[in-house]
């Protein structure tokens, strides 16, 4: 078996700031990898580069599709990237409002990716959308409501339904639980964990929340100042941190 997504030697500068400095990362099918680190450590930049939303200055990102063909993400055309985003990938933003169409009903939001992929049967789109609303623990009866009426947690769950409806193989998540209160966070994490296990998704999760990483991730990548300082199985990294920065990060988690 080979890696789903493999990146090597990624460099990215914003002026004098090195957002990424020789970063290498890989993710295998069905695996959840958490990228943790403080604000400004380059974790979101890394996610954007891997998802083809930002060109790196150097390095390469290779993605293997379901047919086994390899795509170089940094050289891919806009059309090819959009095709990947539509069929193979999903992206969950921190702020659901960035991803959702607020003036379109919940059902329309979930159905958009289906329609973009060529689905033209209204009844079928409704059925699939209702099914996905149920999977993210939302009442399908609220399908025709505007996301404006939903709470932050519901908007986030709607975003997840919208992302997963086309059965992506790889999902990028950028702080999916950020900005939500603790009990809603817990439910959302539970939901994501269930979905990931059921669907066998590969997830690349960016978070500064160590607890979320522990709950969801199989592997953890610790970043600081644009470099990967430590990488390993979740339990190993969190219970026996080697790098001083990881030790600091782990010890600064508040015990409830």
């Amino acid at each position: 078996m080979s890696a789903l997504l493999q990146a090597e030697g990624l460099d990215l500068r914003f002026g004098a700031v090195r957002a990424l400095d020789g970063v290498a990362i890989s993710i295998w099918p069905g695996e959840v990898v958490a990228i943790v680190g403080e604000s400004g450590s380059g974790k979101s930049s890394l996610l954007r580069v891997l998802a083809g939303m930002q060109r790196a200055d150097a390095g390469q990102v290779l993605y293997r599709d379901a047919a086994g063909a390899t795509h170089s993400i940094l050289d891919a055309s806009d059309a090819a990237l959009r095709r990947l985003m539509r069929s193979d990938w999903g992206f969950v933003h921190q702020n659901a409002r960035d991803a959702l169409r607020m003036e379109v009903s919940a059902g329309g939001n979930v159905g958009e990716r289906l329609m973009a992929a060529g689905e033209r049967h209204y009844g079928h789109i409704r059925k699939v959308a209702a099914h996905w609303l149920e999977r993210v623990e939302m009442d399908p009866a609220r399908m025709d409501e505007s996301p404006k009426n939903f709470s932050g947690g519901m908007q986030q769950r709607l975003q997840i339904a919208r992302t997963l409806v086309t059965n992506p193989r790889l999902v990028f998540m950028d702080e999916p639980t950020g900005g939500l209160d603790v009990s809603v966070q817990a439910r959302l994490l539970d939901l994501i964990r269930g979905l990931v296990a059921d669907l066998g998704l590969a997830v690349l999760l960016v978070t500064h929340d160590i607890a979320a990483a522990r709950l969801l991730a199989h592997r953890i990548v610790v970043m600081r100042h644009g470099r990967v300082v430590e990488e390993g199985l979740t339990d190993r990294v969190l219970d026996d941190p080697q790098h001083p920065y990881t030790q600091l990060l782990v010890s600064s988690v508040l015990a409830a």
Partner: protein, 289 residues
């Protein structure tokens, strides 16, 4: 009313068909490109025309670029030959180009139209020139021009379908009774200009050449003869051309597109054909007004 007017002499000192040579070439090049890529919007350097934006500046530029001395011109506005706009544009071309004009669809070689397709089917060799206020079918959904251009380039039209989905979810049917978006040649999403949805099916596999000119927005696009033009819909909610469920009060036609005319202040109204030439070509009802 429907006789062909005698051929006046062209205006001296002007290039044929009003436009200067460079402009005419530029527009004809844009037209050629538009015909080669059906449904694709080609930018062109629209000129100031001697009528206001919104009255057909795009249409008359396209018409004058394709007009030749032997052409016979018909101009309709909402189907009618006798409205101010249609009369003025027809008179304009007969004065500056000296071409023959007509009100008969069958006799015309070029038909400039605003918001209708004639009821009489076009034949090969005829050109239908549409006046287009807004060429971009996505403009209400995607405010950024750069982004909608990108969506066209990537044939990413999920957004338009979402709009139709929302219409059906909210009101049980598609809400656009005019300017219903079409897919041209299975590739480009195109605005048919604000023609009634009733006319959309006439664009499909039409024998005539259909040219679209948007003067203010500076875009030209085209549907060549016998091109596949499909109105967007869902498999289980097929596209329905809308027509008022009446017969024409003058000719009794139950097939043509109707205008509703208010006749008095007491709620009196009647339905008449919007295509005046079609209506006049049919025997009037005995009790016609």
């Amino acid at each position: 009313m429907s006789e062909t007017t005698p051929k006046p002499r062209p205006l001296a000192g002007y290039n044929f068909g009003y436009l200067d040579e460079a402009t005419k070439r530029m527009i004809r090049r844009a037209l050629l490109k538009a015909v080669c890529i059906p449904g694709h919007q080609v930018p062109f350097g629209a000129r100031e025309m001697p009528l206001p934006y919104g009255w057909g500046t795009g249409g008359i530029q396209v018409t004058s670029a394709v007009l030749g001395p032997s052409d016979v011109l018909k101009v309709i506005d909402q189907g009618a030959d006798d409205t101010t706009n249609a009369v003025s544009i027809r008179r304009f071309f007969s004065r500056v180009a000296g071409v023959a004009t007509t009100e008969r669809t069958a006799e015309a070689t070029i038909i400039q139209t605003r918001h209708r397709i004639p009821e009489t089917p076009l034949r090969e060799g005829q050109i239908l020139v549409y006046q287009v206020p807004m060429p971009e079918p996505l403009f209400k959904l995607e405010p950024r021009v750069a982004e909608s251009t990108r969506l066209h380039a990537l044939a990413d039209y999920g957004l338009m379908q979402v709009k139709l989905y929302e219409d059906i979810a909210r009101q049980g049917e598609v809400g656009t009774s005019y300017n219903h978006p079409v897919m041209v040649n299975h590739r480009y999403l195109m605005s048919p200009s604000p023609i009634p949805a009733f006319d959309n099916p006439k664009m499909h596999m039409n024998a005539g050449l259909q040219l679209f000119g948007a003067g203010r927005e500076k875009r030209i696009y085209a549907v060549p003869p016998y091109t596949d033009v499909r109105s967007l819909d869902f498999e289980d909610h097929p596209f329905k051309p809308v027509r008022a469920p009446h017969a024409c009060a003058i000719c009794g036609s139950a097939e043509s597109y109707l205008d509703e005319v208010i006749t008095d202040d007491a709620g009196g109204r009647m339905h008449v054909c919007s295509d005046t030439d079609y209506c006049a070509s049919r025997p009037p009802l005995e009790d016609a007004p």
